[in-house]
């Protein structure tokens, strides 16, 4: 009975902890960012870099999820992007967070070459009794700009692939 009670307590405690949202602190201390740049924190379960399949406002990664709001305006200062606190309400047991930058019309993106593990305890916090003092900051470590595919070109690509597959099937 005592063992059962102990187990119940542990399970309850685990459920209480795992159900909690986490706060991820991030910044980009890269001076003089390009005009109109905005930023978004992104979670990818595989830990691989985010990929985009269609534009949106904001663009949504095909292999992950946006965390928090897009950061723009005065927060993108001459000294880079100030410290942000983005809340992830999902319980993560794997994967990583990336910072994605978008150009002014969000037609291009680039992502941080460094990622933040879901289990990091320096920049991610789970409780207010022990707030995180660290910050995930890739500084100027970002990939080159790449185009966010537009829905129109994606549809053409899909049509081309389907035609190719059909022709191969006919030959066989």
């Amino acid at each position: 009975m005592k063992k059962f009670l102990g187990l119940t307590f542990v399970v309850t405690l685990f459920a209480a902890v795992s159900a909690q949202a986490v706060v991820i602190h991030w910044a980009v201390s890269c001076p003089n960012p390009e005009e109109g740049v905005s930023a978004q924190l992104v979670y990818v379960a595989t830990g691989q870099p985010p990929t985009y399949t269609a534009t949106g406002t904001p663009p949504i990664p095909g292999n992950g999820a946006n965390i928090g709001a897009v950061v723009s305006g005065l927060a993108v200062s001459p000294a880079g992007i100030g410290r942000q606190s983005s809340v992830d309400t999902e319980t993560r047991t794997q994967g990583s967070y990336y910072i994605v930058l978008f150009n002014s019309d969000k037609s291009q993106f680039k992502y941080s070459t460094e990622s933040l593990a879901y289990s990091d305890t320096d920049a991610i916090t789970r409780e207010i009794l022990a707030p995180a003092t660290g910050t995930f900051d890739p500084a100027c470590g970002f990939t080159a700009w790449a185009n966010v595919p537009e829905p129109g070109s994606l549809a053409l690509l899909a049509l081309g692939m389907a035609t190719l597959a059909l022709r191969r099937k006919k030959r066989v």
Partner: protein
Amino acid sequence: MKKILTVTLALAAVGWAQGAMAPITGSNEVGFSTVPATAGATQIITVPYVACLSENAEVMLADLVSTNGLVSHASDPSNADQLIVMVDISGDLRYYYYWLQSDVGWTGVETSVMHPDGTTSSVTPTAANAFAVARGKGFWLKRAATGGNAVYVKGEVSGTTPVTPAITTGLNLVGYGTAAAVNINDVTWSGANGGNGNTKTSDAIMVVESDGSLSHYYYFTAPDGWPAAYQELNGKWIKEDYSVANVTVPAGQGFWYLRRSAN
């Protein structure tokens, strides 16, 4: 007749004695503040008062929070209000836990601490009635689920203001040492660190909201040559979107102060 005369004389004597006595007066002013603290949530409390009838004396933790509005329990700490105090033991920050035991008062909880080498040791808190808390220092109040949404702090209004709690590099639990609500941008913060303009390098204040989340505010100093929009924020606490923080902290409520480094 003789009896009436005696009584009259006695009354006259009392009246004369009262008239001759100097009135007892004092400058002591007792303070009592209501602090919002939601049931089932955790809030930072700070006591802007000093110990009654002992100006400048240290206030003991057990005397700070009024029992009015608090939840006690005979045997179960999880069903009682709890005080959590951060202590610095040789540079190692730890928490002391106390719970409100019925007919006993704030009772310390022995906790276990795991060290980097995997070993554990137990931590026995200092008795609450011997734990001195300086004015302006903060501590946590974890409300029981059955509690109300407010608690009360009490003491004597200090004749010496302002308070200057020591703020060290890293996390500090502090509060404003006066018995009035205060907007963080109406306070003179001498020595606050604005960093290089990127709030990652600035001192931060974290205030507990009613839903249990923390709101972050950063001290900003505009570097020379930055656009006018940033110069307007110079010397102010700002939000993460670089707008001015309009935050009023109730009397008796504390906050986290994250000190980056000395200027």
